[in-house]
Subunit: 202 residues, 2 copies
Amino acid sequence: MTEVARGHRTQAERREQTRTALLDATIDCLVEIGYSRASVQEICTRAGVSKGAVQHYFATKAELMAAAVEHLTTKLRTQLAASLGSLPGGASGVAAAIDLLWEGYSGTLSTAVTELWVAARTDPELRAAIRPVDRALGRATLEHISEVAGDLPKERAEMLFWLTVNLTRGLALDAELGGDPRRRRQLLEEWKRIAVLLYSGD
Amino acid sequence: MTEVARGHRTQAERREQTRTALLDATIDCLVEIGYSRASVQEICTRAGVSKGAVQHYFATKAELMAAAVEHLTTKLRTQLAASLGSLPGGASGVAAAIDLLWEGYSGTLSTAVTELWVAARTDPELRAAIRPVDRALGRATLEHISEVAGDLPKERAEMLFWLTVNLTRGLALDAELGGDPRRRRQLLEEWKRIAVLLYSGD
DNA sequence: TGGAAAACATGACGCTTGGCAGGTAAGTTC
DNA sequence: GAACTTACCTGCCAAGCGTCATGTTTTCCA
């Protein structure tokens, strides 16, 4: 329940606060009750705001969701950037990077993203909103990764990166449904072994 | 539009026909308009049946969805079994198996499954219905795969299998949002190379 | 300090949803 | 062919949905 702070606030502060409260509440809903049940009612209740307020910021629900996507991606991006910033180079860096990618793509933020992703498949408007920010996230993360694997051929590093991303997304899906966590960990360890192997030799 | 065939039919025939018509229509809806918009109205319209009929077979919507899951999994299973049946052994078999898994997990059937999966995350009832059939599907597929990779240590084959499954699921998600098909193909080819490498050597 | 403007609340709208009561038609059984 | 069971349809309901017109509060600026 993201309560809106009371007291004396400038207009800009008010605006910003309720806006982010709304977006955070949206993400909360996506994570906890899923897209199909994330109604405007529920969202503004959690944000501690009236339905009229959300109307004031977002003309339609789709607009709200689109804004949530960007809000979400920004969060994910800074989170990933922060953890990827201090990576060791070399083979141990590869393993560490995979761990970080897994953490990034299996957290609650990514859960919300998945929810929106799947919903976007059959919703052109949402889809149009998601694609650019998602691509930007991918590219930005790849940038960070590339720095770690400086001595690896660029194409090779990209391959490893995208393979890892897609694998972790698949694993995240498995986790959401309640698959065996032990097996997931095993698979991740195995993949790290393989990646390091490919990284050092070939 | 899965029209129900008319003419003289026994009770059992009628029952079976409208039941599968209903389930097929449900899958259609999941694929075309997604879970959140797959209303009972839409489903029974597509099946060419009234809302009362679906009530007669499934007391609640969740029950319908649960039945759809099983229907879906059965279909996927027979499809996979058919294509996995005639696989060559050895390294070339591994590559072929990966291709087949990709095809299986990226088709329309799997799209519907993903839709249900994500919905199930926040819906305990649906979740309870999905888990057992999904696990059974996984195990059954693994059985088939194991036969191909007979000379590989069992644990190793399982690892390869689950890695492939999760990777393809991630790729399928990417495909659904309209990611670059060329890159997906490249990644799959690369993974096949890696898998063969791991299969023959270590 | 007062009036304009922005932020927010309220309540009602038209519509769709899932679920159900009650009736009709078709098949089965004897 | 009559009694009975099963399959299926029509029409309705309460609840929830997204959206909007209108009113109230808060901040801003001259």
